[in-house]
């Protein structure tokens, strides 16, 4: 038996961080807090399921991801059509390429990935870059790369075509690449 009090306080310490991530995905504070609450309760109700197979953080994050997917599914009915963020986004990508289709600038060397991924500040900057993405682009990107959903599922949940999803994912990656390049690798 694990000590419930300790687990409880460990989970509470994680709450702000979990809410931030739920918020990045859901873009709605109340929904984000509810999803985190559900996830924490689920973990507290069955502490035995977390049998040290992973770190507590990894385990709770996994539970939270399932809760968020539930919220996204439940929210399908109420979803409003968002304005198309397309035009300015495409212009931003256009500006990276010359008329002949070559890159205008050589992408900077980013150094060793393993070393980068061990630095906390890198993740803080990545998080800030995610916050700056347009809402719809961010939602699709987070669904794909954070919740690790397949494109078909994302299309179904958001009622968009697969080519639309690929375009949004491409824009998100281009934007994040620029943002990281400027704010992390360019420092």
């Amino acid at each position: 038996m694990s000590a419930p009090d300790t687990l409880h306080s460990q989970l509470e310490a994680m709450r702000p961080m979990l809410v931030r991530f739920a918020q990045l995905q859901l873009r709605n504070q109340a929904l984000a807090e509810d999803a985190v609450q559900d996830a924490l309760l689920a973990v507290l109700e069955h502490p035995d399921r977390f049998a040290g197979a992973s770190t507590l953080r990894t385990y709770v994050t996994g539970v939270l991801k399932y809760k968020i997917i539930d919220v996204l599914r439940a929210a399908t009915r109420e979803r409003q059509l968002e304005p198309d963020e397309g035009q300015t986004e495409d212009e931003a990508i256009d500006s990276l390429f010359a008329a002949d289709g070559h890159t205008n600038e050589m992408p900077r060397e980013w150094g060793r990935p393993d070393a980068t991924l061990q630095q906390k500040d890198f993740f803080r900057i990545l998080e800030a870059c995610l916050e700056k993405l347009p809402a719809k682009t961010a939602r699709v990107f987070m669904m794909r790369e954070w919740l690790e959903l397949e494109t078909e599922e994302i299309c179904k949940e958001l009622a968009i075509s697969s080519s639309n999803a690929w375009v949004l994912l491409y824009r998100a990656r281009m934007r994040l690449r620029e943002c990281l390049d400027l704010n992390w690798f360019g420092k």
Partner: protein, 64 residues
């Protein structure tokens, strides 16, 4: 678009889409042949891998 030689613009897009769907044999071949000779796209491709790895590592231990 030159039918034989893909541009960086096309290859950037293929690198990204290849993370979300299976590319056709033709697309894969075009992309790979281009990557062999293009440092810019090769770097871009590596950066996309890093981005994916980073997203799957979220959230990190920053609960301080």
């Amino acid at each position: 678009m030159d039918k034989l030689k893909p541009t960086c613009r096309e290859v950037h897009r293929l690198v990204s889409e290849g993370m979300d769907r299976d590319l056709s044999l033709v697309e894969r071949t075009r992309m790979r042949l281009h990557l062999v000779v293009c440092d810019a796209c090769t770097r871009f491709s590596g950066q996309m891998d890093l981005l994916r790895k980073a997203m799957r590592g979220f959230p990190t231990d920053d609960t301080k």
